[in-house]
Assembly symmetry: D2
Homo-oligomer: 431 residues x 4
């Protein structure tokens, strides 16, 4: 397969997947935005197309004119350097362009993109290839957002619609968590290869780590229930000050999507309500809840460096991702293949299932340089007041993730598929 064919195929695969994810939706579902965090599905479809149009078609194709003079204003998310944009909370106020018009926009962009890929020498022009790849990874991020947002849009509807049909439950062997000791020292952190990575994963650099221990599994629903039953949400001493304030203000007493119905906990999923499965990783908790649980458990969250160092040699592709079609984290399974270098199979579910909160504020790596121009706004300008998450989740596309990948959210956010894994310091007397 030629380079051209390769990129055309990949382009079409990614773009196509976005549209297949929309197949279960009714036309009305594409329009709404139930809170500031989410965007209408229609908007995701258009914004991802705008991205290719703005950063490739307009600059690279001579004579290409924007499909519609106002679409940049409507579908630019936050790139200040390429012009104005509607305020975020207005995304759900736009009935026009209609879904049909947006699909026509996608077709238009796709046609020109494919022509451009076929005519451009991408092998020689690494810069253009990297923008193309960025556009595809960007669209993959929006595939995940699409499902996160649909889940929220449906949850806040009293009719509680389902997006997909529930999977039949699998017989399970319960796996107990244990601590794995990991050796620290002067380690290397960050991306350093030819393959694609976001600018925020670079440059590769040194960091010093003390030896530490990591839990073999993410915290489960059962463990989180124990925290709740121990009064976790009522006892300020476990919480950061900002977290405690959030608990009070929002009236949190359980993870997002948990509802107590007739005395039992149910969890709203993209396939509707399911009875709480104690063995699943806890999901849809904020950093504050992860941090409070850790303190209650006498442990702590790992730093992002500790996480990366531990999972560097794992095989991401064995994880449970979007492609499985369950759209929900599943319990750890003993049959999960592990990387050869981790032949003891000690660390499970590092990739997929749930994003794992780390204790690291999202900040630039030493020597970090954002991309030039507006694309430099992709990651760099968000480096304040956010926390790093690692590992991807059950609605992340499989080939989107890697050990150096840095996701980030504000610490109070709960609508991503977020969980966490415990870490702790080595104590001499523990050995």
């Amino acid at each position: 397969m030629s380079e051209h064919e390769h990129w055309v195929e990949r382009y079409q695969a990614v773009r196509g997947l976005t549209e297949s994810l929309c197949l279960p939706l009714e036309p009305e579902d594409f329009v709404i935005q139930v809170c500031e965090d989410v965007s209408p599905p229609k908007w995701h479809l258009a914004h991802t197309s705008w991205f290719f149009e703005t950063f490739l078609l307009i600059p690279e194709i001579a004579g290409y004119r924007p499909y519609h003079p106002l679409y940049s204003h409507l579908f630019n998310s936050y790139y200040e350097q390429v012009g104005s944009h509607i305020v975020r909370t207005d995304r759900g106020h736009l009935s026009r362009p209609t879904l049909k018009e947006i699909y026509a926009y996608r077709r238009h962009v796709d046609m020109h993109m494919v022509q451009w890929i076929q005519s451009e020498n991408l092998e020689a022009k690494a810069h253009l290839r990297s923008i193309l790849e960025l556009g595809l990874h960007h669209e993959q991020q929006h595939q995940e957002l699409l499902l996160m947002d649909i889940k929220m849009n449906f949850y806040l509807n009293p009719l509680k619609p389902s997006y997909s049909t529930p999977n039949s439950p699998q017989p399970q062997v319960r796996i107990s968590p244990h601590w794995k000791r990991i050796q620290g020292g002067l380690v290397s952190i960050g991306h350093d290869s030819e393959s694609f990575a976001f600018d925020n994963e670079t440059p590769r650099h040194h960091a010093w780590l003390n030896d530490y221990e990591l839990a073999s599994l993410p915290v489960t629903n059962e463990e989180f229930l124990e925290f709740m039953e121990a009064g976790g949400y009522e006892r300020s001493e476990y919480w950061l000050s900002d977290g405690w304030e959030t608990v009070q203000k929002q009236g949190w007493n359980a993870p997002l999507y948990w509802d107590k119905i007739e005395g039992e906990w149910w969890v709203f999923t993209l396939s509707g309500y399911q009875k709480l499965n104690p063995d699943e990783p806890v999901c849809h908790v904020s950093f504050y809840e992860a941090d409070a649980f850790s303190r209650w458990a006498g442990a702590r969250l790992p730093t992002e460096e500790e996480w990366e160092h531990a999972f560097r040699t794992e095989w991401p592709s064995f994880g449970h991702f979007l492609e499985s079609g369950t759209f929900h984290p599943r319990p750890a399974s003993p049959s999960q293949p592990v990387a050869p270098s981790q032949s003891t199979g000690e660390l499970l579910q590092g990739f997929g299932d749930v994003w794992e909160w780390t204790s690291s504020p999202y900040a630039p790596y030493p020597g970090y340089k954002p991309a030039h121009g507006a694309l430099g706004e992709y990651n760099g300008k968000f480096m304040s007041n956010q926390m790093v998450l690692r590992g991807g989740c059950c609605v992340t596309p499989k080939d989107h993730i890697r050990a150096t990948y840095r996701n980030f959210y504000r610490p109070e956010k709960r609508w991503p598929f977020t969980g966490f894994r415990l870490a702790r310091d080595i104590k001499e007397d523990r050995v």
Copy 2:
């Protein structure tokens, strides 16, 4: 035509008109709610059906079960006595039920309503007939709201879609306003006949009026422009304190839907932007603006009693209403037929074109009794912090209005089709 036939026909006409008003909309247009004031068209379609279901089908048809157990929660507007309802601002957050499902709901309600009308002895049961009539007038109010809301939904979209095609302008003879003197004394106010009226128009009662003068026409765009050019929006001395605060906070400097584009005033209409027509009645002004203009003009707004007394003998049906299909107020026309009793034709446009703000706070008439039960919430509970408007407008159905009709809005609202007419006291030296 039998009584049954009459009511079936009327029911179907009103219900059918609502749906024809929706024909120009795209599916997405039915979903959105751009601000708290408006509701999604989908919601209007369902709510008006819920009204018939709740106040007739459920209480009157033995064994009738609600179409859907949650629809009352979704489509109850504000009737506390018939159960819970979603918060107003969430109406645009619901993609489900879909438009198709809502039309199925309408069909279901319509089928049962027609059957019920045909089987019920409405002549004998005045109470049921009055609820049926109330339901139809209620739906007519929502026809007007539908157009008000679509206009706002479209206006806030940067693409500025059109709902209808513009009318070709008519050659006009400009009519100048003059003052008409009206004799006061002990007059009778309020509805007092067999025909339908809302409870808030009753009982008929005495009121004392001094003699007064009323302008022959509503204030026009040209006159309002003079006020603006005289610094009307910048001079606190013309404004009520609450009005002045609103001007500052909202940054008002012109009526709603007026935009200055390249040095000229354009007005957004349901047929898109039109150049400001100086002869049209000014529209989409708040009570505060009407009141400030009046003070600037050395006049005042009429009380609702003055308005009703003056227009009691006019013929509403000559006005310019929804049925004309222009959805926009038009200039006064000399060819407008007038009632025989007003053979001088002095007072024009009292009915239709624009609702006219009065200086009267919306309060109960002496001896007012609201309807029993939840229907008593229809009008009575809104009798605070609102002002009375009279006469109907260009998107009011013609047979919905009468001289005693009391519309009401909070004084800062501008999205109804609101204008005003001046009044003044008689001065001895003026005679």
Copy 3:
């Protein structure tokens, strides 16, 4: 006593009373503002002086220069036509000028005012005399506000300080309320004499009243408790829509200043907590609560015209006012003198004790003309979204009130000393 002496004496009496009301305060008490409604005592002291300076000294004394160039900005309340003013909520943010400096300002204004009164021919210049009188009545209004505000400032302090010492309770004869029938017809409303009145009480005009009944006493704490125990605060059907929303938002379940302590109701007063006295008029209720109670009781509030017509011939001075020094409403007393024309003594407590909410929105009387210039802002610009109250209260100076006096507050306010009296229509079958 000469005209000059009369006015000097009256000026000094009013100004002196303001300062005596401040004697129980600590220096710190003068500075604070616990919510938007109230103002710091310091501010009242300065603002009332600014009023005389602005509307008399500056325009009338040649060469008089404002005491301080910024005081107008600091102490102008809301007169847009005399320049800028700090935002209302900032009044409690100003430690300077200090109390000492403000008293020096008062002395300066007083000295010039007395000189001016002595040198001006007030008999000949009715306009100036009426501004002087306005200034004195203005200061009396602030005497009442001062006590209202101190009460709120103290109530929100967990230490619950007292302003005055409690009165020893008097042995009481309980008086039962009854209905008094009053004849309506074409009556005259509004002020029409040489004596002082605010512009909003004029002009005297006709109004038509049906016959009606008025309760002989304001509603008492005992009666209000019955409403509460009947679930009054939980049943939407008694409430105006705006009122019900306020109840929900504010979490109201009793009048302001009522606290249930160890199972018993206590009422916070300017003399600290007192056990709820069932015979006192209920106080510190909003219009919404008064209106809801009335509906629950199968009655209604009187209109302001009904109130004025009934109390026109009463003697205000027999009421229980500021001068009694109790700063709290007291139960009706059989020994209360009544006016000769009301020899049956049927209507008690019309004046003093508690302001009585009426059902009348505050609107201009027919033919109303506000004063010229900035003083026209005194009353006229507040004629929207407020309700009329009548009769004065236990912290109103005795010579400040009259039967035509129109007080006004927004319907949700509870920090004035507000109560209410029931009215009802005449039913034929009741006779």
Copy 4:
């Protein structure tokens, strides 16, 4: 001097300094709180006393009873584990206890503290000694806050009062900034000695640093003006996303306390307005402004580790601190003594003058353990959404600071005396 004498003397010195800082205030100045950030001086006086009472007198003195049962509720700042506290924004709503009462409270606490110090074996009980020291350092922090808050309280008063008299300007030799290269590697960070430090400075741990360069001086007003004149506040590309949003919302266009008066920049200080001195370090800028300036300048902020490593061997006591009595940063001076180890004198003003923002989010050091019990809330619970600052400022007490000291504020705060110093990476081609 005995251990007892030493601690009594130190206690009295610190407590006395707080009170001397209050000497220039009028009684009214002690009461107000102009925004959520600041607290009334009265509150600082009481809160610092409450700290000693709560953490030493009550637990350590048998039979000691709290001075007042409600003072803990009023003067607890944020320690959830020792009971309730009034909401922060209500601190300025309390006229009582009066200043006099609060001074009596201080005297009471002081008497018992001195008795306790004299009777307690502090040498043997390291834990108690460290709480005593913590209480003194806590009070020193409030000395700085007191001045920060007075400055804000005075600035927002249109009368712009002065706290102190201005210093006469000194003839200056202007010093130009240059870059100093600093060698990185595996360095040690954090406190590790017997002397007092807050828990957040521990434990001492390794960190890897690349070689880097640090500016010899903090950024000056002149340099910051250049940024402003280059459109710094209008160009989104220099700003973090949260910073840019803050600039828009707050309308920032200069540092806090800068006002352009008749075309010239003036700076409000504790001695009133002063003409902008170009050579002073820029002060009262947020982290966002510091970060944006750095990006504009092609540099960056140092990490807290870089800062500490560079200033580890400097002598803090040579800095310009509270004791100088100028309450304002001063320009760099060539006569400033430098530490022997820094014989080239290259890094100036690291200590005193202005707190320096670093690029480091405030997070726990590896192995960090907060103190036990409520005192663990002192620092640990604030480790989210804040940034680290280093070095102290012109209103910090001299013996309060050290190289390992970690101050922290939210990135948008500007009312502390905050400036910054540039850093940059080593580029090969620069050598």
